[in-house]
């Protein structure tokens, strides 16, 4: 059977949900006639019509507001932010209104905001950022980022069926660089469940998104040096799968927190806090963060390579932590 790419998996997931539920629609810049900047919505206009596949003016706040209003009035919007970076233009609508509706007035907002995120694509300062943390920090939002084609399809379907607003971060580098055979039957990947990608006993790497693949490569190299590394893919950042996080920390007693987002104020600090509070007695070494440098994402290849966490960076920390 043919393998399906990450980008195609997301497309299939949305397509299938639009087929099974006619309240699901897609809206965004260049999503209809053009099929989306990354072709996630290709062919949808022809299949589902212009009422359900909607091109908008260049107006992220307007798009998020319209999606939220439509969700209040019974629809299930799947909104596309052309790049995750531009979600900042809709930040007020997302964090000040959509996220608070259930708490303020018991109104569900079943809405997905898709946001192509991440670097390693020569995108530079406006097309490469990992913007998860402001949304992770906003109660009322769910935040997910799949690392595989299987999860991309299963999570987008779960997000569309979810009754809360979901920030769906898609990694642009993974769009066409990972693929696999997908189940033929309907499936979802539950929001809020992490997955162990590689079992190990000496060190755990807790990560998500593209960095899962970096961690797996580092783990493979470390095994050649006699170090057994476990890799936990969070898949969902909110709500966090605390049980899986604590299980792996207790199992190996040494934890590396790896993310492509910049270091300060990143997910690593939050994970370190959780592990320190709830598994301190199990630890045999410091909680180690590996993350991008605290700079804007640079464009030029040498700079971007220096900016992003690499397999070598992770390996160095594995060797260092292993000595404890």
């Amino acid at each position: 059977m043919a393998e399906t790419t990450y980008v195609e998996a997301i497309r299939q997931g949305i397509w299938e949900e639009m087929d099974r539920d006619d309240t699901v629609f897609v809206m965004g810049e260049d999503v209809a006639v053009y099929g989306g900047a990354f072709k996630i919505t290709k062919g949808m206009l022809e299949r589902f019509g212009e009422l359900r596949v909607v091109d908008t003016p260049l107006a992220e706040s307007g798009i998020v507001g319209a999606g939220t209003g439509a969700a209040i009035n019974g629809l299930r919007p799947v909104l596309e932010m052309q790049f995750a970076d531009f979600m900042a233009c809709g930040f007020d609508q997302i964090t000040n209104f959509a996220a608070k509706c259930r708490y303020r007035w018991g109104q569900a907002i079943p809405m997905v905001i898709r946001a192509p995120a991440g670097g390693n694509i020569h995108g530079g300062p406006f097309h490469s950022q990992n913007v998860e943390m402001p949304y992770v920090h906003t109660p009322g939002l769910k935040v997910v980022q799949p690392s595989t084609a299987h999860d991309a399809k299963g999570l987008i379907k779960a997000a569309i069926r979810d009754d809360d607003p979901v920030i769906f971060l898609e990694h642009k580098y993974l769009y066409r660089s990972v693929k696999e055979e997908l189940p033929t039957e309907d499936y979802t990947v539950p929001i809020g469940e992490a997955g162990v990608r590689r079992e190990g006993s000496d060190i755990s790497i807790i990560t998500y998104g593209w960095m899962v693949h970096v961690a797996l490569e580092a783990a493979e190299n470390a095994s050649g040096e006699g170090i057994s590394v476990e890799v936990l893919d969070l898949r969902t950042l909110v709500p966090l799968d605390r049980e899986s996080i604590l299980d792996t920390a207790k199992k190996t007693s040494k934890v590396i927190l790896l993310h492509e987002d910049t270091l300060t104020g990143g997910m690593g600090g939050e994970l370190a806090g959780i592990i320190s509070e709830h598994a301190f007695d199990y630890l045999d070494g410091p909680l180690v963060r590996v993350a991008a440098a605290d700079t804007p994402v640079p464009f030029s290849e040498t700079l971007e390579r220096a900016f992003l966490p690499s397999v070598e960076d992770v390996l160095a920390k594995i060797r260092w932590l292993h000595r404890f």
């Binding site: 209040i72 007035w105 009322g140």
Partner: protein, 332 residues
Amino acid sequence: MSTPAVAHLQTKFDRDLCERFHYYMLLMRELEDRIENKLYRQGKVVGGCYTGRGQEAIPVGSAILSRPGDWLTPSHRDMAALLIRGVTPEEILAQYMGRATGLTKGRDGNMHMGCSERHCVPIISSIGASIPIAGGLAFAMRYRGESNVVFNYSGDGASSRGDWHEGLNMAAVMNLPIVYLCNNNHYAYSTPLDKQMKIADIADRVAGYGIPAEIVNGNDVLAIYEASTRGVEHARAGKGPYFIECKTFRMSGHSAHDPADYVPNQLREEWSRKDPILMLQKYMVENLGADEQDFMEMRKRVLDKVAAAVEWALEQPFPDPATLEDDVYAPA
């Protein structure tokens, strides 16, 4: 160019409709008076305390046209819109006092309340944000092929925000069924119109988006009713959005803490002579045979209702701290 004010009163207003206008305007006036000048001063209402004193004609003359399937996004100066949709004075007072039986169960205060069942979206404090929301509500109506419309309320201050412009433009491009009621009360908090914009009329901004706009006397409930009727017919007929700029004046501070001493006395006095309730009463006396006695009886009825609601609300429980973390997410 802005549309000139339409010569008003093509409608024959009957006594029954005028009494409904009068009742809701008076109820809003007295309820807000009780909240601002008694309960707030007594410390029984805390936090921000916004009223729409002097602007009652705008929500009343428009929301009274709403049908059950329509949606409304009232601003913090449109309490009567909630009353017309069936929100009770009891619920409003419990909300202001942070009680568990208020519309937001104590999670938000003052006019920051809404209700899914009665199709009222609560105000979003980042003013102007409701304009794109109205677009989405209207989008869903068109999606299902309904003839419902959205009544969106905002003020002059909102028209400086990006959301206002994004939302109006999208509604125009998508031809969405929305009637915008803009209360141009001449001040955004302390900032007068001439420091907000270089032009005289907000309707001129709207013209740039290709949305029909008209300007009405925002203190004349009959003029607002007529303009809203035109707007609602336009939107229900699938002709797209419609904008009504209601020239009015905020006869209070921005909030109860604000003495508004930045407003020239002369301006305030000028507008106090245009009180919307007095204007309606004058019409009712001159055209419908109403008299002072009728108004006094109505006022007594309203005051009794408010007093009973206050008594009820004061007995309501505060929210249980154990509910703090409820309803952030859907139940698992």
